[in-house]
Amino acid sequence: MTGLNAIELEDVVKEYLSHGEVVQAVKGVTLDIAEGEFFSLLGPSGCGKTTTMRMIAGFEEPTKGLVKLHGQDVTNVPPNKRDVNMVFQSYALFPHMSVWDNVAFGLKQKKTPQDEIKRRVGEMLEIVDLTGREKRRPREMSGGQQQRVALARALVNRPRALLLDEPLGALDLKLRQAMQIELKRIQREVGITFVYVTHDQSEALTMSDRIAVMNDGLVEQLASPREIYERPATGFVAGFIGTSNLLTGTAVGGVLKVGDSRVLVPGHDGDVTVTVRPEKIAIGTEEPAPEMSVVRGTVTEVVYLGTYNSYAVRLSDSTDGTVITVFQQNAHDATATAERGDSVWLSWQARHSYVIGS
């Protein structure tokens, strides 16, 4: 027993009526989010992640299931009576109020004493590095600054959990990367549970303690970033997170064998789907050592990507023309090992093959 979870969802279902038809946006999600955790809901658009978050915030009422905050059932409690705050996708700052009034809004609604409001808003603006800009209007600020106002406006209330709905979506790449680090720092500083909704897998991998990968209204996998990347539970997760190669076939005695190719899957027999990450694969023109998983193929594309080369290799022993992607670090020089049309060997260690669903 590690104390109460900050947020618990119990078999939550959300149905909408759309053109007379019932559509299930969320089809039964069960989650426990621990106190102080940086938790991400990751998935493509329409997977139900935003609806799930809106049910935690109280903007949507679940059709079925329970939402609990710190062990208390809040399923039917309106958003203004829930001790969670939200950072909206487009920030949703109050355009007619100054930065100060935006940030002070929640505290004023809670009838916090004036001097405390003054102190806490001041402190919070310092944390998000906006001291001296109190009198500005949101529209007079850059995207990154508006983002920080939105963050301050929510955090100043010291909520039990902070919900962030794709908060970095509107920022350019450089600023987004800076804000990722910034968000992580702020989270450590304030020690509040963060629930982060995003469709950007690198964002989720960078910041999260745990990630729930959602697809089609269901959680496909709930695990740490490392676990999700290295050991995807489903084909969807393997495909959605990073680039991954999928090989299917029938294993006999722990070996998936087609022609000269052999993929080692110790302990597996029968029909399997194996995933292997592009950066784990070595590409060469000579036959590799026998203890490795080995496939043969022809290079169909070589792309120079700065820090690495990306190869597309069509397997010669596969009937369906499976193409394997290989990343090769440009550690020494930028010359490619193989050219388009070359016949190559691909190899990787047995532990880098991961049988999906095992």
Binding site: F59, N80, Q89, A92, H96, F105, Q109
Partner: protein
């Protein structure tokens, strides 16, 4: 040439304004200072006393007009805001239909619509006549030719001009901003007072301008629904122009009305804070 281009581009609108606004106004200003009569003609005598005379004779009607216009504007705000709010936030997919319904009365002439109210409100008409027949209203009950009838008519006739700008302003309020307020512990009422209402004020401002001015100057409602004791300044100007052919007095009254309205608008903008209003509108 390059430097002149912007000015050349705005030239058509300046010409438009000159022909249709400045020239007639100047002509009227000149008439308002002339003396004479319709038969012998009018001559420019710079008689500023035209203004004083007109004002002293018709101050009652002028004040009454401002009062009626003001009352109607307040009534329009009270009715129009909820209607606009409902269409903007609850209209759903039928929004455009509701807006069309709002404009539908404009397919009938302004005068006809007012006359139809005359029928409806007639002492022994379909409405009151029937009710009186059933004994639900006393025999002496009448609405026509009262302040209520005129203010009601003005309210009815100009209501869409109040609703539309408020609707436009409310339509532009991002629903997520309202959600943000609720997320920050505001009740529905507080979210409305602190967020929706301030953001829709530019619309209310525009609505008041678009209704108060024409309602105050309107001669039709008072003529058709007001009887003899509710004459407004618009009626006086009309009579002076068309019946008495007293052009200087009519012109002087027109200018006085315009000046009073402009001052009124200026004070109103000051009180409401144009800066805030414009700022919110410019977002």
């Amino acid at each position: 040439m390059k430097r002149l281009t912007p000015y050349l581009l705005v030239l058509p609108s300046w010409i438009w304004l000159a022909i249709f606004l400045v020239v007639p106004m100047a002509a009227m200003a000149s008439v308002s200072l002339q003396t004479g009569n319709a038969i012998d003609g009018f001559a420019m005598t710079f008689s500023f006393s035209n203004y004083g005379d007109a004002l002293s004779r018709y101050s009652t009607q002028l004040l009454r007009s401002l009062l009626y216009g003001g009352l109607a504007t307040v009534a329009m705000m009270l009715i129009g805001y909820p209607v606009a709010y409902w269409i903007a936030f609850r209209g759903g997919r039928r929004k455009s239909m509701y807006l069309f319904l709002l404009l539908l009365p404009f397919f009938v002439s302004f005068v006809l619509r007012t006359i139809s109210w005359n029928f409806l409100l007639a002492d022994n008409g379909i409405l009151f006549g029937t009710l009186k027949g059933w004994g639900l209203l006393p025999e002496g009950f009448h609405v026509l030719a009262t302040t209520f009838a005129v203010v009601g008519g003005l309210t009815y006739n100009f209501l869409p001009f109040m609703i539309l700008p408020i609707y436009v302003a409310l339509e532009r309020v991002d629903p997520r901003v309202v959600e943000a307020a609720q997320d920050l512990y505001a009740t529905r009422g507080a979210a409305f007072r602190r967020v929706v209402l301030p953001l829709s004020l530019p619309g209310v401002f525009a609505g008041v301008l678009m209704t108060f001015v024409p309602a105050t100057a309107d001669p039709i409602n008072a003529a058709i629904l007001g009887g003899t004791s509710n004459t407004m300044i618009g009626n006086i100007i009309q009579t002076e122009y068309l019946t008495n052919l007293n052009y200087p007095t009519a012109s002087a009254l027109s200018f006085t009305l315009m000046a009073v309205l402009l001052v009124g608008i200026f004070v109103y903008a000051r009180v409401l804070g144009t800066e805030n209003v414009l700022e919110a509108a410019a977002r």
